[in-house]
């Protein structure tokens, strides 16, 4: 160790912060070095004197007044810094809350929001499931052809017995419109209320007349008040070439319902016609009578669409000829003035070269009609057969007299001479019970009897009310 080292390590030696080994080296050097020894002794003496002075006479107590001031200040500060919990609360006026804060605190906000959410969800679900139909879309839907479910369902025997077989004619547009009108009436009739509204019946008759008028000759259509509807429906019908019915040798103009029937619309058209007739009967039937056949088209009694029935066997063109005379005769009394009605029926009856007026024969009846036992052919088929077979004049005269009797009966029925019409049709039935039109005649008889009963009941009611008025 050198003297310079002793000088630098002197403080550590005096304050005893030197390791033992280094301390031994330090002391060894100091013992051997007189200069370092004097230096170390002088510094040790100075430090000893300084400590003695600082911890002896220089060790003074602070003035007591300082402590008093400090404690007073501390007490004042402690009093000023009382915990907040001990401080009296100063009531402050609450700040005015904003609109949304007050709205949020209202008790009805959450229920109202919930109800609004539910209503919105329900509305959206309904809109998604049933999107609104625009007017142009609605018309497009109306013009669409009948759905497949509109294929006629198998006709029950009871329905056949009640509902007359309508004409196997149909135009797509007319069929749809007739379906719409009849379906509406059917739905209403299913709903329960008594269907006696003249408006509903008139609407249905108008649709049926329009359909039947398609089978009329053009000149009849020109005079028919419903010809406009028929022409419109004819315009919607697919244009086709003139078609001659099998065995008739007669041409049917394009757009004629007969052509459509041949083009494959016969089953549906026949079904529609049958339904329309049945609905008409249901409308005019008293409420007490059970409704038969009042089922939506293509649907079963439960309202579901029925399986498409097997197609009807192809009807002979002559047999498939409609019976619009009966339809017109049945509807004319309700729709047309008596004079016009009579004129239309007479004009129709004069059209003996047309198939109008021939009822549809059932398959059994058709088979029977093709047999030689058929004694009283009438209408278009009779004329055609007569011209083809070149019958004798006496036979033709007999046939003509039979046709005249038929026309007379139809005329009486159209003129609402119910008793006479019923008697005429009964006579025809007695003479030719196997005639293809016999079923229609029977219905005429039933309708005439029913009308008689209703008229009788109305008269009785009127008499009762008059008596009551007189009694008052």
């Amino acid at each position: 160790m050198k003297c310079s080292d002793v000088s630098s390590l002197l403080v550590d030696f005096l304050y005893e912060e030197m390791p033992a080994a280094e301390r031994r080296d330090f002391l060894a050097h100091v013992d051997g070095c007189p200069a370092c020894s004097v230096e170390v002794k002088a510094m040790s003496s100075t430090l000893g004197h300084a400590r003695a002075a600082l911890r002896g006479p220089l060790d003074e107590a602070p003035p007591t007044r300082v402590r008093a001031r400090v404690l007073a200040a501390a007490q004042a500060a402690a009093a000023a810094t009382v915990p907040d919990s001990a401080k009296p609360r100063v009531s402050r006026a609450p700040a005015p809350e904003g609109f949304f804060a007050r709205l949020w605190k209202t008790p009805w906000l959450v229920p109202a929001l919930g109800a609004a959410s539910v209503a919105t969800a329900v509305f959206l679900v309904k809109v998604i499931k049933n999107p609104p139909v625009l007017p142009e879309q609605r018309s497009a839907v109306t013009e669409m052809p009948a759905p497949p479910a509109a294929v006629p369902r198998p006709e029950t025997e009871r329905e056949r017995a009640v509902a007359p077989t309508g004409p196997a004619l149909g135009v797509q547009g007319l069929g749809i419109r007739a379906r719409e009108s009849t379906a509406g009436i059917e739905r209403r009739s299913h709903a329960g209320p008594k269907i006696t509204s003249e408006a509903a019946a008139g609407k249905l008759r108008a649709a049926l007349s329009a359909r039947d008028s398609l089978a009329m000759p053009k000149r009849l259509l020109d005079n028919d008040p419903l010809a406009g509807v028929a022409r419109e429906d004819q315009a919607q019908a697919p244009a086709g070439e003139a078609t001659a019915p099998k065995g008739s040798g007669r041409a049917i103009p394009p757009g004629h319902a007969f052509a459509n029937a041949k083009a494959g619309h016969a089953p549906a058209a026949a079904m529609h016609a049958e339904k329309d007739e049945a609905n008409l009967n249901a409308v005019s039937r008293p409420q007490s009578q059970p409704r038969k056949g009042l089922v939506a088209e293509g649907a079963d009694s439960s309202g579901r669409w029925a399986e498409p029935p097997p197609p009807r066997p192809a009807q002979a063109p002559v047999a498939a000829a409609p019976a619009p005379v009966a339809s017109v005769a049945a509807s004319a009394p309700a729709e047309l003035p008596p004079a016009k009605k009579a004129k239309a029926v007479a004009d129709l009856e004069q059209r003996s070269d047309h198939a109008v007026g021939m009822p549809i024969a059932s398959s059994a009846e058709r088979a029977k009609s093709q047999e030689p036992v058929r004694t009283a052919p009438s209408g278009y088929a009779a004329k055609a057969e007569a011209s083809a077979d070149k019958k004798t004049p006496s036979e033709s005269k007999q046939a003509m007299s039979f046709e005249e009797r038929v026309r007379k009966a139809e005329k009486l029925f159209a003129e609402k001479k119910w008793a006479e019409a019923a008697a005429a049709f009964r006579a025809l039935l007695a003479q030719a019970p196997a005639d293809p039109a016999a079923k229609t005649w029977r219905e005429r008889v039933a309708a005439a009897d029913l009308a008689q009963e209703q008229a009788r009941a109305a008269r009785a009611k009127k008499t009762t009310s008059d008596d009551a008025v007189d009694g008052l």
């Binding site: 000088s7 002197l10 005096l14 100075t46 300084a50 002075a53 600082l54 300082v66 810094t81």
Partner: protein, 198 residues
Amino acid sequence: MAAYQKGDVAAFGELVARHEKRLWNFLRRFVRDKATAEDLLQEVFLRVVKSAVQWQPSAKVSTWLFTIARNLCTDQARRAEFRQAESLDQAKAGEEGSGLRRIDRVAANSGDAEKEAMGREIASLVDRAVDELPLEQREVFLMREVMDMSFAEIAAQVGASEPTVKSRMRYALQRLRSSLGELHEATARDAASVEGTP
């Protein structure tokens, strides 16, 4: 200190009693003036009162107190440098007011009285020698001898390394030795002159 934070003034009184003497001696030796030291001591405790809510239990109260005292002393010493002449006058006045007279130093002949007189003389010399120390050496010397702080604590307090603090301590001791040596020589000359008189 934690008790005083909760409003216990008596606890703060105990804290003052525990630390005021060392703080007073430190301030008294550091600022050289008794009235100034008294003001500074009061200021130290008032600052503690003001900052009591900010005190954290992890902090050492003595270190916090001496840090405040040192900062106050440093500010006071810097202000005193602008009034050097006045300080010199105060030092001269202090010397006069200390009551340390040479006649008092040699008046007593008894052993106890001589020791007591020697003690007063040495205390006065030490007091003056400490006052004449440079600021950096003085604070290190007082922190070590009055505050009983280790060199490591002093180094942390003054923001210097430990060897630097030891070096400052060594220079302070050399200055004190020098001052006390002159005192011893003077005392020896006074004693020889008294003995040589008939």
